[in-house]
Symmetry: D3
Subunit: 243 residues, 6 copies
């Protein structure tokens, strides 16, 4: 039994549910998805400050997951908050959904587009493209100009805007694939893939398969060198639980 801890780094239960649903829809029969979200944090992640808060929640959950013996971890926010910190703490693999979606896009197309929420999140995607090596594989980035939680307001407006931006991206960018730039868009990928006739990639499901694969290959996060366990520190105050 492979147990994958899927971490929603924000505190919105509806988002956790969306993410869990996307994760379970692709998990192998022998995989158990444990969807969690931090006790303390922010309800949505739309900037660097939100990400810094979320990173601590991610670390806390990774530590818990490790203690519970999970096989690997998914960080289900498109900025991949706390990814390298989580990798230091984990023994198993840790995959961010931006990372998963971007990697996947380069495997099925020569260039891809990204559709995200607020314009201010574009810089986070740009920095990740650079860090992961995919700056030249990304043809264009688009924002629907609605906040993350608009995806959970039940109106369908944000979903329709995502669809519009995907169609625009297909027509104008010359891209072979589209990456959805928010965990809250996870459940849209399958239908858009059908409608548009090209891979529309949700990072949550992609990350679940990556963790399953790494576990099957016998790989956890390398503990040699840069990502070795953190040196023992006496973290104080609100961080004591991270010791």
């Amino acid at each position: 039994m492979t147990i994958i801890q899927v971490i929603n780094p924000n505190t919105s239960p509806a988002m956790t549910e969306t993410i869990a649903q996307a994760a379970r829809s692709v998990a192998a029969a022998s995989t158990q998805i444990v969807a969690v979200s931090p006790r303390h944090g922010v309800p949505s992640i739309e900037g660097h400050a939100d990400e810094a808060i979320a990173a601590v929640g991610v670390m806390d959950l990774v530590k818990q997951g490790k203690a519970q013996g999970v096989s690997g971890h998914v960080i289900a926010c498109f900025g991949d908050p706390g990814l390298l910190a989580a990798r230091e703490l984990a023994s198993g693999p840790v995959i961010g959904i931006a990372e998963a979606a971007m990697h996947t896009a380069t495997l099925v197309a020569t260039r891809f587009s990204i559709v995200t929420t607020l314009p201010r999140t574009l810089i986070i995607a740009r920095h990740l493209l650079q860090q992961y090596g995919f700056t030249h594989h990304c043809a264009a980035l688009h924002a629907i100009d609605l906040p993350v939680l608009a995806l959970e307001d039940g109106s369908g407006l944000a979903q329709e805007k995502v669809r519009e931006q995907c169609i625009k991206a297909k027509q104008r960018d010359g891209s072979g694939a589209i990456v959805l730039g928010c965990g809250g868009m996870a459940t849209l990928a399958q239908q858009l893939t059908q409608e548009l006739g090209l891979p529309v990639i949700d990072g949550v499901s992609a990350a679940v398969k990556m963790v399953e694969s790494l576990v099957a290959l016998g790989f956890g996060t390398s503990k040699h060198g840069d990502l070795a366990y953190p040196l023992q520190k006496n973290a104080t105050g609100i961080f004591e639980h991270l010791n």
Copy 2:
């Protein structure tokens, strides 16, 4: 049932067997590995000319595999010969083993080293690093300075040299993972991972899991844009079978 066509692009049966073994060792229970090699080609691939020949064999086999209804394809030579051509021909996913190993390395470590066969193959790896976006993730490249088929001569010499270069890479490069740069090294990865205490990555097994994952996600190669099926051409002579 997922059927993965694992293509050894050279004509050496012993190499096909090594590759098949590595592929089967990690395939899911519901995955069938079909290991094939081209009817016409070269017994080993150690340069650009060998690769160009191999690419045609790969295309031929991908066409056959597609006709037989396989789910996806692995190109099991570290230069990923014919990768983009194969993607044009295929409907399912096509993964090269250099691509698979390099992607995998970036998921478990911040930087990786490569150990390959002859020094003249290093340039192929360098070009792939650039194409895939991982130039800055690769700390160093090493060659054992033995030809590919030395891995199949039964003496164990090549295997020992691989081991030595991996140990050297671990000690000197500051890398968290090592990528094995030849399909013929596929069966060494597991033991070296154990011995060295860091992920030593074989691209064959990694590619099999990537194909399984993409199939599970519902993604084939994008047929929108750059990788659409080739335009109908009247290929002549020895290429007629590619029509």
Copy 3:
């Protein structure tokens, strides 16, 4: 007497003729142009699969040319199919026309634009820009959205579209030079250069002069290291003639 083998990698005689004409129009008096095309292959090259087929034809012709004692080789398709493979086989210089045109553009202008045929060929140009180091020297890429052989249909439509795209490139891109992205456009360069008042560069003629220059300098392809002759292999079947 310098003999330059100008290889049309596709099997269309009209294209071979266009290319030969462009080559002869600039060759030195002491240079003999031998225009050839492969016995087996595809009539036009508009994607990666076409290129992989063409690469084998190029290799075959380079071997023949070398046996006949030619001084150097030009690969007259804008994707430069089989360039590094051909360099391994050759003793003399081998120049691709994309390479020749791009290099030339950087010598007469700070930035250049590319005008090519089908949009799906743009990715090939992008990859070559990256491989040759000219990504930042290229201001924009344009496609006329007509297949290669439209350049040989006698209607003049494709030629007019090339002209339109060149004018557009001059007006909008801020480029000082334009690179024609298809061997079939070779004979248009001179007139467009006159009409537009900036260098419109055909790679065929540029490549011929580069081969002449390298021969005059006493340089063939380096046989030290990466591009040494291929190791002796027992190529089988349809590739036997490449032994």
Copy 4:
């Protein structure tokens, strides 16, 4: 009066003192240095997990500093933890000491070397070089292979190792300047600059001058676009104080 909040992101008072001393040694007469460290955190920062914890402390202190009306902020840890998050929260300028030292080095030399503490921190420096644009300006990175707090143990061993690495860097790297890669090395810069005869750059003092300069120029952090104040969120639990 310009008030600069110099944030030691770790909880070691000795380190705060070292940093404060370096800051005060270069501050203008009209500048007041307020050296602070987080109530909760880790005693030293030597990896990504430590950085993630420190980033929250930095945010908390930036908010406090802003409420107190400080003119600008320095993040005095070489990984620049929480830099972009802090910029979102701040109205004044926020400068990280890695950023400050790297920028400064490029102003007085064509290439520079970095000397840091533990080898595992090198990856953080590499990522910052890439993010700031200085990958090609850095000739080499060196680690003394001692933890951060060895700089505060009173033995002088770490200081001597820093000196040795600086001498080695001067002799071997061809660099015109050396960047000290830890806030705890701040007070070594002046003497090493004298001894070695080239700029040995401490980021703390450099950052103080950058904040002073930006304040004098009338610039705070841009509130247009990516670094606008965070959207109002209902941060919960241990992050409530960040609302």
Copy 5:
């Protein structure tokens, strides 16, 4: 007393005055600004040939300034003509205004736009972005399509065009800051910063603060390695004064 030699590399007195005014408006009380321009040169700098002429004037003035004991030097033309040559000659710091403005922009925003004069100067800015490492930090470049001296014709037309391009840049580029690409625009920055609500950066004032900072830190130009004083040469003719 810090004495900063602010060099207008062109021979237009009105431009020298504009630059001096901008420099003095931000200089510390203890800083004396000495604004100079070359005896021989060109009245404006709008291309590479103008820059090459200006570089000699800059060198001459730097030598004079050094002889007079100035603390540092500013090269107040956006192409930073003669920057590295001046650094070889100087003992104190030398800062170009393009360099100063670009560095400053990256400290207060994640991405910036540039507004310059004639389109032909854009390539100079592009080359500097690459040399300084900021290619990926620049979102877009704009030209007002008026010559440099239009900024000194008293009509206000050029100033209005700068304003228009800045507004356009703010609206379309997603940039958090704007860099003014000409020394003649120096006095516009403050008002545009107010009007637009984001940092509009003049390099003259930024450079003055950088020189002040470097002097306060005790750093001149590194004399170890690449920027050591020029080897003694017997410069002849019109360059004799440079010996």
Copy 6:
């Protein structure tokens, strides 16, 4: 008749002679080499200040050459001083010898090494590699640590050191070609090519063939856009002759 003006940017007659000899040894029968050096300047070019002085001499000579109706220009100093300025002034092609040698190297090998004079000139080569796009094609740079004029002292010591560095580069760098990094080394290339068995490239001869080729192709420097003739300026004093 093609007339190529080969400009030695320094004032040493012996160097002019060496360069002229290299140029004539490869020039076509129909090409006339006019070797010139500036009336005013420095006897050797070993840094940025020397280059800035040399650039003015180059401009002056290019203007003269253009007035005399030469077909094109070669700037025969490895730093390519004044290259873009000269291109603005010229109607014909202008080629720098570093540019020529680097381009040539990439046509005959996948990677190359550079052997130059003083270590302080390496940074100039590095900057040119970046500007021309060849950073990733250069495996290593070496300096013989002797000044330029040691190549003209008749002792043969510098020549022997060049030979030693070339041998070292061949053995250690994995390069297929070596670029000689000084005009004064021009006459060494042919013999070293023979002795070492790989292309040892002198930029003077390479540049002559490039100019001949561009002239034969009908291309001068593009006068559209960035490299258009300089705007009419009233250059004063020692620069009056440049009007």
